[in-house]
């Protein structure tokens, strides 16, 4: 029923009265910083995996256990008569990940490397280049976060659109049900799950990424020793940095899925031009018009 609704909406001529008004939803600050972040996170992810490949293991605590075991993740490879076998060990459980993690590449090009060539920048192994790329985009991301935070505090985006309110939390079960049935509303404001997701990325995940990154720096460790202590040691900070990376990748995938499901043209237009097509004014059964 819902699909039919969307079809009819789409094939309607622009003059049809079934569509709601275009509203100016995203300010120039939100749009610009959004795309700078998108570029930054792309390069940070790929260069970060390059850096991780230099020592593909994660530990808990201040140091890495070589004579004792405090590893929570290790990616490696073993050689047998049939060739290289890649493995990934998580909390003591070992999985065969040949072709993806530990050992990848075809035929003669097969090599021992944690993340495969297509997932790292540069594609070949170069810790030096990975670090140069990573720290450039880390600065750019941090600077953009500060610019966005100031702009959003001043222009009200933070207070009006992002901060989850009590009413939002009360609406959570209903909003969850709407999302699970892929019945999206197009309105001038974010729904509860959107607020929680964006708020979580901007105020939890990204700051955590910057903080755990700084906690790994020996120079910052002298300046702010409490920061490393806060994360229970440098190696724990490195592990958290990795886990938050996974969370950000997860956010990205859901973000893409939601855009595709909700109406990619409209969603993209709003984050490029700022203009967003809202649903027609609600009648008694508002949900019927949701697309």
């Amino acid at each position: 029923m819902d699909d039919r609704n969307r079809q009819s909406r789409r094939s309607a001529s622009p003059a049809a009265g079934k569509r709601g008004p275009l509203i100016y939803r995203q300010s120039i600050w939100t749009r610009t910083t959004h795309w700078v972040w998108a570029v930054c996170l792309f390069f940070l992810l790929l260069s970060g995996l390059q850096i991780f490949n230099a020592h593909p293991a994660l530990y808990l605590g201040e140091q890495s256990g070589f004579a004792f075991d405090n590893a929570v993740l290790a990616i490696g490879a073993t050689q047998d008569e049939s060739g290289l076998k890649g493995y990934t060990e998580i909390l003591g459980w070992r999985f065969d990940t040949t072709g993806l993690l530990g050992a990848s590449g075809e035929g003669f090009l097969q090599e021992v490397r944690a993340f495969p060539a297509w997932a790292t920048l540069p594609s070949f192994q170069s810790l030096a280049d990975g670090r140069v790329i990573h720290f450039f985009f880390a600065w750019l991301l941090s600077a953009t976060l500060i610019v966005w935070l100031l702009a959003s505090a001043i222009n009200g985006h933070l207070r009006n659109d992002l901060l989850p309110r009590l009413a939002d939390l009360r609406a959570l079960p209903r909003d969850l049900a709407i999302h699970l049935r892929f019945r999206f509303h197009h309105t001038g404001s974010y729904n509860t799950l959107q607020k929680l997701a964006y708020f979580g990325v901007l105020f939890v995940l990204l700051p955590l990424m910057v903080a755990t990154g700084l906690a790994m720096s020996p120079g910052m460790n002298a300046t702010l020793p409490w920061l490393t202590d806060l994360f229970v040691g440098r190696q724990t900070a490195r592990t958290i940095h990795f886990v938050v990376m996974l969370a950000l990748v997860g956010f990205f995938l859901i973000h893409m899925a939601m855009i595709l499901a909700a109406d990619p043209f409209n969603e993209l237009r709003s984050i490029v031009t700022g203009w967003y097509r809202t649903d027609p004014p609600k009648n008694a059964k508002g949900e019927e018009h949701a697309a």
């Binding site: 256990g65 004792f68 140069v132 720290f135 300046t223």
Partner: protein
């Protein structure tokens, strides 16, 4: 077909192609390790890290730990068994004939024996060694503060860097053998935790960890902490040493400032 649908499709196609194109172009540019202009721009972020960290940290000390935190031998990295003849000869005599040469822009060049170095006021510190690869290891280091040695040599006013020349050949190539070297600025050189270490975990410094003398620069990564130190030179520039980037790994693309 409705006009709007076509427009939408083209719009999405254009946007996808544009974003993908930028990403792929970026990958290609960055896959080129030559000293391209792109790389120089990206690497300038490291100058920013250097300036900001120096501004923020002042003389702050790197965290120090307790003996209970020492849970394993110090992990050796890089060259662990130098095969250089002069080094092997010294090692055969348990480094009794070792001398640290201090020269360059100094009023008083020095040649210090191991006994002389060990007779100076020592500093012992339990610190965390952070390797550029990502791992860390806590150990107890004993040595003479570099500032003490520098004070004896009396640096001239134009000195900006301390250059450490090492015994170990780290690379053998067609264009000749390359011995390890490093440079640090005077802020780190005079920092109280910057020591020329001859002791590790309450014993003498083992060969794999840099015997008879290695540098500790606790606010930077491991590759700055040259092992097998043969001589110290005080210089105003390192442009004429190696490939001119201030260290063996720096000449191979690693940042000169390794505080991050």
């Amino acid at each position: 077909m409705p006009r709007e649908l076509l427009q939408r499709r083209n719009f999405l196609r254009g946007l996808t192609a544009g974003a993908g194109g930028i990403a792929l172009a970026g990958c290609d540019l960055l896959d080129d390790t030559s000293d391209s202009r792109v790389r120089r721009v990206l690497a300038s972020a490291n100058d920013l890290s250097y300036r900001v960290q120096r501004l923020l940290q002042g003389d702050a000390l790197a965290p120090e730990f307790t003996r209970a935190d020492i849970r394993q031998p110090q992990r050796p990295n890089g060259v662990a068994h130098p095969q250089d003849e002069d080094y092997l000869a010294l090692a055969a005599g348990d480094f009794a004939d070792y001398r640290l040469e201090v020269s360059g822009l100094v009023e008083t060049p020095l040649s210090l024996s191991r006994e002389q170095l060990q007779a100076m006021p020592a500093r012992t510190q339990i610190t965390r060694h952070d390797c550029v690869e990502g791992w860390s290891c806590i150990a107890e280091w004993t040595g003479v503060p570099l500032s003490t040695v520098l004070a004896m040599a009396r640096p001239k006013s134009q000195v900006r860097f301390v250059l450490l020349r090492c015994f170990d050949t780290i690379e053998r190539g067609l264009s000749g053998n390359v011995k390890y070297y490093e440079t640090i600025d005077m802020v780190d050189a005079l920092h109280p935790q910057t020591i020329l270490a001859y002791g590790l975990n309450q014993g003498p410094l083992p060969i794999e960890n840099g015997a008879p003398l290695r540098l500790r620069v606790e606010r930077q990564l491991g590759y700055k902490m040259a092992k097998y130190v043969r001589a110290i030179e005080l210089v105003s520039t390192f442009a004429d040493v190696g490939d001119g980037r201030g260290g063996y790994w720096e000449d191979r693309g690693y940042d000169w400032y390794a505080g991050i």
